[in-house]
């Protein structure tokens, strides 16, 4: 596995959102003929047909500007990159998906746009001999070369998972001066985008549709409960309780109401606690006693917000709370000291 791969993988696994440029330098590989996600390095590797080469090999064929998307190869070329880390390319292409979601998008996009749009100065004097672009998307092709591949083939495409759609790319300024790294690799990987997804207008889906689907999935992801204006169910757990409950946060207009509802829900568990603590089991637990139990030193109500932090319920206005709360937890106050 090339060090680059390792770097990318680590990056992916740790969900580091620092731009991959940093990661690359951390790998000590230097920045050379590759885009932010490092994929073009493979591209140059591919073209040279030497798997271990890190792009130094200036295979003339690889430097040809060809038309076509990443991964397009004329048939005779394909035989060249048979042994490329094909299996590994799977991982390699997958992992860039993660960091790119976070922060690399914009930088990659820039590099893509400059690559993709041929400013006239770039184009002047370019002689097109063969018509395919070399791109990091050589990946899918090389994967497809696996001799044992069958019809049903799960290919990890060299695409970047992100919300940045073609729209976004379009808006990037199109300059013939590439941003940083990409200038050098224009001649090599023919300014092909780092990933398919960053090609303007591809796949050919109406932007209305792409936007609509993204909004939908955002809505579905954001809350733990069912999406929709009507209800907002979140899970409520309690330390020591054998199972969780769900409450609809939209049902309550004050914290007091929410608190009472939770008390009612979890009274059965606290009964047990009372018993365990030596209170005579036959004594009927009055509501006030229950309240004391919950409001007293025993338990506090906490929630996990959108950022994943555990917060004490009651600090923010209810509307804000409802918006950010993902789930609730009734903690023993001893555990809640950090809050």
């Amino acid at each position: 596995m090339s060090p680059l791969l390792l770097g990318v993988e680590e990056e992916g696994q740790s969900r580091v959102s620092s731009p991959s440029v940093e990661c690359i330098s951390q790998n000590g590989l230097g920045i050379r003929e590759w885009n932010y996600l490092g994929l073009s390095d493979f591209c140059s590797v591919d073209s040279s047909g030497v798997p271990d080469d890190n792009g130094n090999n200036l295979n003339l064929k690889a430097t040809e500007l060809r038309l076509g998307l990443p991964g397009s190869q004329s048939p005779e070329r394909e035989t060249e990159h048979c042994f490329l880390n094909s299996g590994k390319l799977d991982e390699k292409t997958l992992f860039p998906l993660l960091p790119s979601k976070d922060g690399i998008c914009s930088s990659s996009q820039k590099s893509v746009v400059t690559g993709n749009k041929r400013g006239f100065s770039e184009v002047k004097g370019t002689i097109y001999t063969e018509k395919k672009w070399m791109g990091p998307g050589a990946v899918p092709d090389s994967q497809s070369l696996q001799p044992v591949s069958h019809g049903k083939y799960s290919v990890a495409q060299a695409s970047v998972k992100k919300d940045g759609r073609a729209n976004v790319i379009q808006e990037q300024p199109c300059t013939s001066n590439g941003t940083k790294v990409n200038r050098t690799d224009i001649s090599n990987n023919s300014s092909a985008p780092t990933a398919k997804a960053q090609v303007v207008g591809w796949p050919p889906i109406r932007s209305f549709r792409t936007k609509a689907l993204t909004t939908s999935s955002k809505n579905n992801d954001e809350v733990d409960g069912k999406p929709g204006p009507g209800t907002l169910f979140v899970k409520v757990s309690m330390d020591g309780a054998p199972y969780l409950r769900k409450v609809d946060l939209r049902m309550y207009s004050t914290y007091q109401e929410l608190s009472s509802a939770l008390e009612k829900m979890f009274s059965c568990f606290t009964l047990g606690q009372c018993g365990a603590h030596g209170t005579p089991g036959k004594e009927i637990l009055s509501e006030s006693k229950l309240k004391d139990l919950l409001h007293g030193s025993e338990y506090v109500l906490t929630y996990e917000d959108k950022d994943g932090d555990w917060m004490l319920v009651g600090d923010v206005p209810l509307e804000m709370f409802i918006e950010t709360c993902r789930r609730l937890k009734i903690m023993k106050s001893a555990d809640a000291i950090g809050l």
Partner: protein, 572 residues
Amino acid sequence: MNYFPDEVVEHVFDFITSHKDRNSVSLVCKSWYKIERYSRQRVFIGNCYSITPQRLIARFPGLKSLTLKGKPHFADFNLVPHDWGGFLDPWIKALAKSRIGLEELRLKRMVVSDDSLELLSKSFPNFKSLVLVSCEGFTTDGVAAIAANCRFLRELDLQENEVEDHRGHWLSCFPESCTSLVSLNFACLKGEINLASLERLVARSPNLKSLRLNRVVPLDTLQKLLMRAPQLVDLGIGSYVDDPSSEVFTKLKAVIQLCNSIRSLSGFLEVAPCCMSAIYPICENLTFLNLSYAPGLQGNDLTKLVQHCRKLQRLWILDCIGDKGLGVVASTCKELQELRVFPSDPFDAGNAAVTEEGLVLISAGCPKLNSLLYFCHQMTNAALITVAKNCTNFIRFRLCILDPVKADPVTNQPLDEGFGAIVRSNKSLKRLSLSGLLTDQVFLYIGMYAKKLEMLSIAFAGDSNKGMLYVLNGCKKLRKLEIRDCPFGDVALLEDMGKYETMRSLWMSSCEVTLGACKTLAKKMPSLNVEIINESEQLEFSLDDRLLVDKMYLYRTLVGHRKDEPEYVLLL
């Protein structure tokens, strides 16, 4: 020719409704031309820049229904910059000034302003029907004007438009006296609406047959609406989320059972899968099901639903249905004619949701299939050849392999043979979109066999000018050709310049066409508008004819250069 009085000929023409036929009829002789133009009520203009509104009005004084298309098709995919053109305004202004009694307006890919909508709503007292598809430039204020002023409005159909939402009062603008609504589709609007107004509107619209809601309309409103309008034929559900044990949901289940006229179902913009069982009773009668905007439904939810839809003729669905799910479709929906499978996550490498297997299953199980739009991660020649054997009725075949230059993963060959088989066996093919790794060979096949082809979309394909030439020479019925990122250049462009007069338009972007060639073409063919779209900062256009143009769009026209082009468009 004049054996019959004009009135008789005119009466005969009443039975001729297709645009093509009426156009042909008008060419027979002067007399027929005259009779035809006075009796013509419906006009279709595929490119709004091919004619001016003034000439339209002059020729067809009896115009009642106008269809206009603006931007080129690739504008859908952000290849055409903002403000390129396609403005409705001049058309409305001209029509408003004239004595045309416009009743119906259908627009696609046009820029529509609130002012135009308002002018429209006030200028034509008999205006009945507005259909906007993939348009932009207007807000809900414009929609409000239509609602408020068109007293006999029957149809307000907004499909996939980019509308700036000024928060919902538009619906309340329908006057109490408006009871003529037959079709209301506002699914593409994003903002809140007054639910009570909606309920009242539906209650006073006894002719309402088609209702498509947007995502803010909750389930309990849906239930109330269906109570009022059990006669609906086409329903688009907005939000479909509730607790299945709730009283509202129980009521909904009951009322859905009464809606046995529903033949078309869409929406589910927000959905709780556990609620889908309420829909099953109406599935039996469905002919059109569109779940392509319902990412909340997983593969098995979709499969379960589809199993009930035996009479389905058109299915639009997301690829999370998977190959297995498509297998269920294939065994259940024997009447299927049109299938569209959209990617639920176009940029995700992750799971290959549908592959060639699903398509093969469909082709084997659905003998009536004639229209396909299929997004997948891979395709093989073998699969396409099988599909071609199974299905010979294709009119539209659009295959989009998400990696645009992907070869056949089994053989590593280009997909030339596969597509070749498709065009060879589907002699009625009118529309074709290609993808995957393709050489000039596929174009040879297309030129040889696709004799009825009218629209062809090519991306990242071919090796040389020959490819484009095969198509231009062979496809005699070609009307629209759109090409991006292919190695086609001047030789191909200039070989048969007269061909473009037989076509509506040609789009070439990121190809190898030089400015000089475009200039030559424009000079030799005055009946064509040749537009160069240049978005880079280089403005030295006139300097170097050897420069490759980024985007070229040419179209035939009767009225020369348009006057509304933006800065970055050069009209040669």
